[in-house]
Amino acid sequence: MKIAVCVNRVPDTETRVKIGADGKTIDKTGVNYILNPYDEFAVEEALKTKEKFGGEVIVISLGGSENVEVIRKALAMGADKGILLKDDSQRDTFSIAKALAEVLKEISPDIIFFGKQSIDYDDQAMPSLVAELLGLPSITVVVKLEISEDGTVIAEREIEGGREKVRSKLPIVIGAQRGLNEPRYPSLKGIMAAKSKPVEERPAPQFENKTEVIEMLLPPPKKPGRILGTDASAVPELVRLLREEAKVI
């Protein structure tokens, strides 16, 4: 089975965001970057799929040369080869999706995994949009996945207050959610092996952006709150304030 997994490089969750000099993106100074956390579930599921059906796992990432780091991490976990779609420009989701779709069309995988969202721009659009551009079915926010020999796919995806079971068929695009699996840690052997695995670099196909960021802003500062007390005696005052001042209960 030909398995593709698309990964992204994002600031880690401990990052304190500062606005960059352009006023439209973050200040990258001192920011620590990681493999997008949801992509770890995607890579793990890709590896499990390969373990069940055989085949190869191809890791794809679009971005600057530094994106090789996240490709190498996926290779260290056990993926077979990488493709870096090199691009240093600011692109919107649609433009990136088109570039990924063009390359994926050529590879023609049986199954394509994404993390359900990238924790930078958070719009959760990439798996569904790439699938649409490829004319493939998609299931996103997936917490359980079963693929049968005949190509039937049964998945559970998270919805408000529960899950829904979804039926579809290969070839398909899957958006992985936390809970789908327990991502493995790269072993020392895996890390060593990753160094000699092939990573092909090619320029990312170019497409126009459909959106324009006017500015990036920090959330309005909150006025300092009040500590009402240090024990249960503060409870009646808290309830009074919630009812009479904040009017929320």
Partner: protein, 328 residues
């Protein structure tokens, strides 16, 4: 020709979500501001047809209903086709829908079909010089971007609980049935069963009040305090990443950058110190209460009201006080 705006109003099993009313009201407001004609779309079976007129309460005048027994069950691919076809059919430029589990995967698929740019999970929409400017959180709310969509067709999804549905206008909308030709091929993805996590459980993204617990609770069984408080308030239960990672709570309750981002009216954080990734997911809540032993915990920097005390003493007292005051 006048511009046209379409809002997709989500229903499941013959019931609209509150977020559908928010989307209709907001779509209507934007349409009025840009002098556009306003239409609403409902997809489902005959049950959807029955409830469609009530959208008149939230600003809809004409509601298109695409009704088919096969559409009773949500199908991503079929629903996306219907929405795209209706957008083309009525030549609409703008599409609004809710950023729900359904809307989040439908919007990008519709965008791919009609070549529309999009701004998703918006928390504010404004018309400036005749153009729609969307504000949406990035980095789980650590920052916001103001975005303009430049393509001919434009799609916006609205974060639930942020936009106002307003008071009911007491009006009924006019319903017009539309036919969309659907083949088996359009049902490549079908949701065939829904499993509720627990009976009547509220989702943190949809609830007006969220009560969240963290490591300060010391043991998973102590979450019954959180559940009891949530019960008194009619609130959803949330959790910090630490306790989800520890396996105390299911991950669908996790609030934060690698969990859910919430904007309830009231957020009560109990035994949560306030790691930056948790704060990102909840600091847009309208009112925040923190109960934590450590008065220097970062959670108090975003809290409107705090009690820097022992939660095992404070929370039971809070439950009793609320029962008394709320008459439960």
């Amino acid at each position: 020709m006048a511009k046209r705006v379409l809002t997709f109003a989500e229903q499941r099993e013959g019931k609209f979500k509150k977020s559908a009313f928010e989307a209709v009201r907001t779509g209507r407001k934007i349409a009025d501001e840009i002098s556009a004609e306003f239409f609403t779309l409902v997809i489902g079976d005959e049950n959807a047809e029955k409830i469609a007129p009530e959208l008149g309460n939230y600003g809809a005048e004409k509601v298109f209903v695409v009704s088919d027994p096969k559409l009773a069950q949500y199908s991503l691919t079929a629903y996306a086709k219907v929405i795209a076809d209706v957008m083309r059919e009525i030549d609409a430029e703008y599409l609004f829908m809710s950023a729900t589990a359904m809307g989040k995967e439908l919007a990008p698929r519709v965008a791919g079909k009609i070549d529309a740019g999009f701004a998703l999970d918006c928390t504010d929409l404004k018309v400036e010089n005749g153009e729609v400017i969307a504000t949406r959180p990035v980095y789980a709310g650590k920052a916001f971007i103001r975005v303009k969509v430049n393509s001919d067709k434009k799609i916006y999804t609205l974060r639930p609980n942020v936009f106002s549905a307003g008071e009911s206008d007491g009006k009924m909308a006019v319903v017009e049935k539309l036919n969309v030709n659907l083949t088996d091929d359009d049902f490549k993805v079908v949701a065939f069963e829904t499993v509720a996590s627990t009976k009547g459980k509220l989702d943190v993204t949809e609830a007006d009040i969220v009560v969240s617990g963290g490591r300060g609770l010391k043991a998973p069984e102590n979450f019954k305090l959180i559940e009891e408080l949530a019960d008194v308030l009619g609130a959803a239960v949330g959790a910090s990443r630490a306790v989800v990672d520890a396996g105390w709570r299911p991950h669908d309750e996790q609030v934060g950058q690698t969990g859910k981002t919430v904007s309830p009216k009231l957020y009560i954080a109990i035994g949560i110190s306030g790691a930056i990734q948790h704060l990102a997911g909840m600091s847009s809540s309208k009112v925040i209460v923190a109960i934590n032993k450590d008065k220097d915990a970062p959670i108090f920097q975003v809290a409107d009201y705090g009690i820097a005390g022992d939660l095992f003493e404070v929370v039971p007292a809070l439950i009793e006080e609320l029962k008394k005051v709320l008459g439960k």
